[in-house]
């Protein structure tokens, strides 16, 4: 055992555990931090993220709420204004629509409407995404919507390391941050380098370098895109994978830098294409990198249909590895 312990320079951990560790760590370090949401306490979190935290921190700081998304998100805003550092868990993005007023009309606007007097240091976490046969009302990917709104910051951790460390940065932020956790990622495992610490909430990151084409994505699509890049590699195509990490502010510089390296782009987004974050990414490319484009830009998004229940239909609706590979081929003119 000693040998093993000494040998481990990195920690392998699941995305779920990383997120729990992030919450726990934040609560240990700052007694203003508390967790609030539906079934975060006794149940242990819908996705078991907060399992064990109630026992450790008690019901005041791990606060089960009624099914009142608007009220408890609004209460989070008020608590943030009142000096606390709430982490509000909205079970899924689908239910966040019931709290849209508080997020968009209050959290995002208060600083501005008050002429800079009232900032809202709130963190809202929510699960997002499809892929588990949960049907149309439990399969939304609406992070792009939230990224539309000035005043919010929208983080989309796709890796275990980001799951572990984005929260700390979000809690340091004086303004509201929404963290979208793709439910398909909770079971993914990854390594966290020893000595890792808080990460920025501003920059996209190249997850794989390449020279022929940039595949730009975020969140739950990242593993698919990396797999597609592997497949392309087998064919001799060198794909760069850019993980946006944060949808607002969007790291335009990183996007354009990648375009300058490869001159060809595929954007992969589990959201719908019309008016989605993929549209925004491409618009930025056209605005700032038109003359670098050496092929039409392609998108792999969810089909413009509510997510069906039947497995084969759901799979057909969502971005999949073969579609990503095909899109890359098309962009490359092959």
């Amino acid at each position: 055992m000693t040998i093993l312990e000494n040998a481990v320079a990195t920690t392998t951990i699941s995305y779920r555990d990383a997120m729990r560790e992030a919450i726990r760590d934040a609560m240990l370090r700052d007694d203003r931090v508390f967790l609030m949401g539906e079934d975060v306490g006794s149940y242990g979190g819908c996705y078991a993220v907060s399992k064990g935290l109630l026992e450790e921190f008690g019901p005041e700081r791990v606060r089960d709420t009624p099914l009142s998304e608007s009220a408890f998100v609004g209460a989070g805003i008020g608590a943030a204004l009142g000096g606390m550092r709430p982490i509000v868990e909205v079970m899924t993005v689908n239910f966040s629509l019931l709290a849209l007023d508080q997020i968009v009309n209050t959290a995002a606007l208060y600083l501005h409407m008050s002429g800079g007097q009232f900032n809202v240091p709130l963190v809202v976490r929510m699960a997002t995404g499809a892929g588990r046969q949960l049907g149309a009302q439990h399969s939304h990917s609406l992070e792009g919507w939230y990224a539309h709104v000035p005043g919010l910051k929208v983080a989309v951790p796709a890796t275990v390391e980001d799951a572990r460390w984005m929260l700390a940065t979000a809690l340091e932020d004086p303004d509201p941050v929404i963290i979208f956790e793709h439910a398909g990622l909770y079971n993914t495992r990854g390594e966290i380098p020893a000595g890792a610490g808080p990460v920025d909430l501003q920059r996209a990151r190249v997850r794989r370098s390449g020279t022929d084409i940039s595949v730009i994505t975020h969140g739950g699509s990242l593993p698919k895109v990396l797999a597609a890049a592997d497949a392309l590699h087998e064919e001799g195509i060198s794909a760069e994978v850019l993980d946006l990490r944060v949808l607002r502010p969007l790291d335009t510089d990183a996007i354009l830098a990648s375009v300058r390296r490869t001159h060809r782009v595929v954007v992969v987004d589990e959201g719908w294409r019309s008016g989605g974050i993929s549209s925004e990414v491409i618009a930025r490319i056209v605005e700032g990198g038109l003359w670098e484009l050496d092929a039409p830009v392609a998108r792999v998004c969810t089909e413009e249909v509510p997510i069906p229940y039947a497995r084969h239909m759901e799979e057909a609706a969502l971005p999949q590895i073969p579609r990503i590979v095909r899109a890359a081929h098309e962009v490359l003119g092959a």
Binding site: F34, E60, R63, T65, P66, S68, S70, A71, F72, V73, G74, A75, G76, I77, G78, A79, A80, L81, G82, G83, M84, P86, L98, D101, Q102, N105, T106, Y110, L111, H112, M113, S114, G115, G116, Q117, F118, N119, P150, G151, K153, P174, D175
Partner: protein, 323 residues
């Protein structure tokens, strides 16, 4: 403060709101103020009476018809007027306007123009106080229209569930814009709704500033003392239209006239006069003083400056403190 002085103080506070609002109407028509403008005329007794019961430590969350609350809370009239002018000297730097008056120093949390939107916020402020062990009250004002919103029910439930120090102040002026209460609510006794969530609830004559003050004082004291949330319904009436552009098709002139007989300012002045707490000279002096205040507020707003357009994108994210 003697009883007489206190009563004159209440009257003067109401008078200041009245004259301020009248000037706003005038300035709106002169196009000095734009956007939506919701006047508080007729409802002055509610803000004055209720806020009289709060301490500076307490918090206030108001609605889009909040000039009266802002004035009663002690925001500088000049900064309010400048805000309506859109000047950078305004209490929200001209970013908010009539519906979004804010003042951190006064713990005045707006100016929320989403009906019902302020209730969860107030619950959260109270939650923070509760978790931090601070004994203070968050007063949340909202109209009776908000009672139809889910947020009202969610917020009241949460406040009672968590036993939070919130004073819910429902200003029932009878109309949600143009929709009469009986046309939108199956149960028009609003206190019953609050009571259903298990909190003490009273209905109060909102045209009687002393009744408002007494009820609010009692409720606020209970809230501050750890009694959990309380609910007050103030029955009141707005004498003017919902906003400046409103032909008032939804109510009879006779109804307005009837309510005007209960004008909180007029009746209270008469009451003080009748009871020997106000003579004509004092009234004239009060009028003169209020006029001077309002004149000064207008001058302040007129003299104010426009924020530089280069600053447009400020206040989206918190700015790093420099220096």
């Amino acid at each position: 403060m003697s009883d007489k002085e206190h009563r004159q103080h209440l009257l003067a506070r109401m008078l200041r709101i009245r004259r301020f609002e009248e000037r706003c109407a005038e300035l709106y028509q002169a196009e000095k103020i734009r956007g939506f403008l919701h006047l508080y005329i007729g409802e002055e007794a509610v803000a004055v009476g209720a806020l009289e019961s709060l301490t500076p430590d307490d918090a206030v969350v108001a609605t889009y018809r909040e000039h009266g609350h802002a004035l009663a809370r002690g925001l500088d009239p000049g900064s309010i007027m400048a805000e309506m002018y859109g000047k950078v000297e305004g209490c929200s730097r001209g970013r908010g306007g009539s519906m979004h008056l804010f003042d951190a120093a006064k713990r005045f949390y707006g100016g929320n123009a989403i009906v019902g939107g302020g209730l969860p916020l107030g619950v959260g402020l109270a939650l923070a106080d509760r978790m931090r062990g601070v004994q203070r009250v968050t007063a949340v004002f909202f109209g009776e229209g908000a009672v139809a919103e889910g947020e009202f029910h969610e917020a009241l439930n949460l406040a009672t569930l968590w036993h939070l120090p919130v004073l819910f102040c429902c200003e029932n002026n009878g109309y949600a814009m143009g929709t009469a209460l009986y046309r939108s609510e199956s149960e028009t006794h609003l206190t019953l709704k609050a009571a259903a969530y298990g909190m003490p609830a009273w209905s109060v004559d909102g045209m009687d500033v002393e009744a408002v003050e007494a009820a609010a004082h009692s409720a606020a004291t209970a809230v501050r003392g750890g009694g959990g949330p309380h609910f007050l319904e103030f029955e009141t009436y707005r004498f003017r239209a919902h906003s400046m552009f409103d032909p008032e098709l939804y109510r009879d002139k006779a109804e307005v006239a009837t309510w005007k007989l209960r004008d909180p300012l007029v009746t209270y002045r008469k009451k003080l006069s009748d009871e020997g707490h106000l003579d004509e000279a004092e009234w004239q002096a009060m009028e003169k003083e209020v006029k001077a205040e309002v004149d000064e507020a207008v001058s302040f707003a007129e003299a104010g400056t426009w924020e530089a357009v280069e600053d447009l994108t400020r206040f989206v994210h918190t700015e790093a403190v420099t220096g």
